[in-house]
């Protein structure tokens, strides 16, 4: 904060103003609605409780052989969290968006200091401080180490906050644009999958011991800001030279981050916002194809291929669809494979892949949003509706069939239960067929809107409809599947059943295909007859 005092014109420091601004924003945000207040208090309590437990745990582990590794890696993960947070929660902090201050006559240096100070206000920094206190106490031994620890704590906290700000400022154009909002939709997914991976990692550590962390920690103790914790550890061991070097490294990182942040702030505040200018003049990227591209060449011609192409493109390009698919793909893989890796699974868990992906067939027209009118205008007979639904089912199968097969083979292989493979695959295919059938039918009968903005996946007032559509459909799918499930159980239990088990793969596939065709046949006339009603139902978001 030396820049403020160093300013020759002795203008009053803006730091207290910005900090007060941050506090007012926080307070006013809470005053806005009871729900928001409750959410804030709940998240604060949870975060602080978690941090306090962590603090206690780390202090109790003091003296443990590998505690330094834990502390170093913990700080590295924390810093990583700070770095990615602004990418996924861009709207979290209004003082974070320096373009709002662009009309004020402010110089970048004092502004950086003021914003940095304001950034230290909030639950996130408090949580970080508690965690850092735990980390440094757990590794510090002796007066010198504690002195280093105080420095390390301050440096690390500042690096974390500056890192978040630098990343946000460098990406502010992205974060306030359409692409940034698309990215935010994926944040829930990142957290869900991250939690699974962390959970798995913890279990691995639990069974194998903390010693596994040492090689990673040996590298990270030289990477800022984890190097600050490394310095505390070095000081505890008496290697003061190393400690000073590690501290200096952290301080250098902080200086570099502040410089980068200041530079992007300067650029942001002096260059005009060009987000609306680029419209027509952006040079058209040269593409070799005119109409349907490489994807189209692999697909059947006519409406089927056209529908498939659009569906497949949307899986990648539409943030809501992408998030839903990525979640399904991830959970479909993680549940069976992680369970198999821990030796607790069953090959039948592999049906999760087919089940999770089958859900994507539900509410097909809701996924179109009100753009469904373009489809509605081209459906004039049950035949058109049949081809439309079949195209969507085929697009889904193009990904699901190989994926479910892969997951099943992987799970059976990890468990070494190859003999179960035909049965599990057959069951997967039968289940997938049943879900496609019920998905097509409920798409026609119980469509609902998926709002394009925000995290909600159902429009207000249509929650009941969504429940009927998804859970009713899943129960129906399970019932439709039950004859085949009985067959699988019979072949496992009866004496001669094992001889038949190979047959269950083709039987399951045929059963699933039959169910799908039947479902499409039944859904098509309903779709064709209810086009205006479906359009009304999916246009509420």
């Amino acid at each position: 904060m030396s820049a403020v005092t160093g300013a020759p014109s002795a203008a009053p420091s803006i730091t207290p103003v910005v900090v007060r601004l941050k506090l007012s924003l926080l307070r006013n945000g809470l005053r806005q609605s009871g729900g928001r207040r409750a959410a804030f208090i709940a998240s604060a309590v949870v975060a602080l409780l978690f941090a306090a437990l962590q603090l206690l745990g780390l202090i109790m582990l003091r003296g443990h052989a590998h505690i330094a590794s834990v502390a170093v890696i913990g700080v590295a993960v924390l810093a990583l969290g700070w770095a990615v947070m602004p990418l996924f929660f861009p709207g979290g902090d209004e003082t974070l968006d320096p373009t709002r201050l662009v009309m004020l006559p402010l110089r970048p240096r004092p502004l950086v200091n003021a914003l940095l100070a304001a950034s230290l206000v909030g639950i996130g920094p408090l949580f970080t401080v508690l965690l850092l206190v735990g980390c440094v106490i757990s590794v510090a031994h002796g007066a010198a180490a504690f002195a280093v620890a105080v420095l390390a704590l301050v440096l690390t906290l500042l690096v974390c906050v500056a890192l978040a700000r630098a990343v946000a400022a460098a990406n502010i154009r992205l974060l306030t644009s359409r692409k940034g909002r698309d990215l935010a939709v994926l944040s829930g997914l990142v957290i869900a999958i991250g939690a699974q991976v962390v959970n798995f990692g913890m279990q691995q550590l639990g069974s194998m011991g903390l010693g596994r962390l040492d090689p990673v920690a040996d590298v990270l103790r030289w990477v800022p800001p984890a190097s600050a914790v490394g310095a505390v550890d070095s000081a505890s061991r008496g290697s003061y030279g190393v400690a000073v070097a590690q501290l200096a490294l952290t301080a250098a990182a902080l200086a570099a981050l502040l410089a980068v942040w200041g530079r992007s702030l300067n650029r942001l505040m002096t260059s005009p916002d060009s987000s609306t200018l680029q419209a027509v003049d952006a040079p058209a990227r040269k593409r070799t194809r005119e109409g349907g591209g490489g994807l189209a060449r692999l697909l059947p011609s006519g409406r089927t291929g056209t529908v498939m192409e659009r569906s497949l493109r949307y899986i990648w390009r539409d943030p809501k669809t992408k998030a839903a698919w990525a979640t399904s793909l991830a959970i479909g893989l993680i549940v069976p494979v992680f369970n198999a890796l821990q030796g607790t699974g069953s090959p039948y868990f592999a049906c999760f892949a087919a089940g999770m992906l089958g859900i994507q067939m539900y509410n097909q027209f809701g996924q179109d949003t009100s753009a469904f009118w373009m489809v509605a205008l081209t459906i004039s007979s049950p035949r058109d509706a049949y081809v439309e639904l079949r195209g969507r089912a085929l697009a889904l199968l193009a990904i699901t069939l190989p994926y479910a097969t892969l997951v099943t083979v992987l799970t059976a292989g990890l468990l070494g239960e190859w003999s179960e493979l035909p049965k599990v695959l057959g069951l997967s295919f039968a289940l997938l067929g049943a879900m496609l059938a019920t998905g097509a039918w409920t798409s026609a009968r119980f469509p609902y809107s998926i709002p394009q903005e925000g995290y909600k996946n159902v429009a207000p007032g249509q929650v009941g409809l969504a429940w009927i559509s998804i859970f009713g459909g899943m129960v129906a799918a399970a019932l439709l599947c039950s004859p085949f499930i009985v067959l699988v159980i019979w072949s496992s239990l009866s004496a001669g059943g094992a001889d038949w088990s190979r047959l269950l793969l083709p039987v399951g596939a045929a059963y699933g295909a039959g169910l799908t065709l039947l479902g499409l046949r039944l859904a098509a006339p309903r779709t064709a007859a209810r086009l205006p009603e479906i359009l009304t139902a999916v246009s509420k978001g």
Binding site: R178, A279, V280, D281, A282, A284, R285, R287, E290, G291, G292, S301, G302, R303, G305, T306, V307, E309, R310, R313, Y314, R317, D318, D368, T369, S370, A371, W373, M374, V375, A376, L377, T378, I379, S380, S381, L531, P532, E533, L535, T536, S539
Partner: protein, 263 residues
């Protein structure tokens, strides 16, 4: 332009059309007969029921009562014949916005069963004429309002429909894009096709249309050639204000403190 009205077969015939949303009557039993080969304006204030009417005429909204015929075919009994012959640009509905402009045209043309080569040829020409060639590979979600209207129009024209329904095609469109759209539509009607569009900008309707239907509060107040609807009034704007009963609502005597003099 009034002289150009072609009176013969009707492009659209609406009889006794009703639509209620809960307690509110959006369209209260309208009858319409729109002559083919004309530029037809459906005008009315906000909330008059223009969008609801166009949605029912194009088969996107089911009427409570009444019948709609487009080029002699019933919209609800014979959708095959009707859907192939109409092009629609609705207001307030999305497009498949995660496709690029060109992909959207390619998609909607192929969905209508046109051969792929033909779709690509027509799409290239439409993109050129509508001045979208430079943005053809951008996603529609990143388009401006004017560009969206233009790509929607291109998509509605791609299969060369006999009747084109446009809901507020000039709303929020910059003057340059508006002129482009206008040029394309004039060329299209010159070939004998019919354009039905809704608007509340009277000057625009007056300069473009041969035939006008005036709507207010869910009813048709007048329909006929521009000259017939305009009657004695000097401009369509005046005639319209009289028809919808907004005349004489002069703000003069109120707000007498506004502007000049003492503060």
């Amino acid at each position: 332009m009034e002289g150009a009205v072609v009176v013969g077969t009707s492009a659209v015939r609406v009889q006794g059309l009703w639509k209620r949303f809960g307690q509110q009557v959006a369209v209260a039993g309208i009858d319409l007969e729109l002559p083919a080969g004309n530029f037809i304006g459906l005008v009315g204030p906000n909330g008059a029921g223009k969008t609801t009417t166009l949605s029912m005429v194009t088969g996107l909204l089911r009427p409570d009562q009444g019948s709609v015929e487009v080029v002699g075919h019933d919209v609800w009994r014979d959708p095959v014949a009707v859907k192939a012959r109409i092009g629609v640009l609705p207001e307030g509905l999305r497009l498949f916005e995660r496709l690029s402009g060109r992909e959207l045209l390619s998609y909607s043309g192929r969905l209508r069963g046109l051969p792929g080569n033909e779709v690509d040829r027509r799409a290239t020409q439409l993109l050129d004429v509508l001045d979208l060639a430079g943005a053809q590979h951008k996603l529609v979600v990143d388009y401006s309002t004017g560009m969206r209207k233009k790509i929607g129009l291109a998509s509605a024209l791609l299969h060369n429909p006999e009747v084109l329904f446009l809901d507020e095609p000039f709303e929020g469109v910059d003057p340059v894009s508006a002129q482009t759209i206008r040029g394309v539509l004039e060329r299209y009607t010159a070939s004998g096709a019919t354009v039905v569009f809704s608007s509340h900008v009277m000057e625009l309707v007056e300069s473009l249309c041969d035939w006008v239907a005036v709507m207010a509060a869910g009813r048709i107040r007048a329909q006929g050639t521009l000259a017939e609807v305009r009657g004695e009034a000097p401009t369509l704007q005046q005639a319209f204000l009289e028809l919808v009963g907004a005349q004489g609502r002069d703000a003069g005597s109120h707000l007498d403190w506004l502007g000049g003099g003492s503060r």
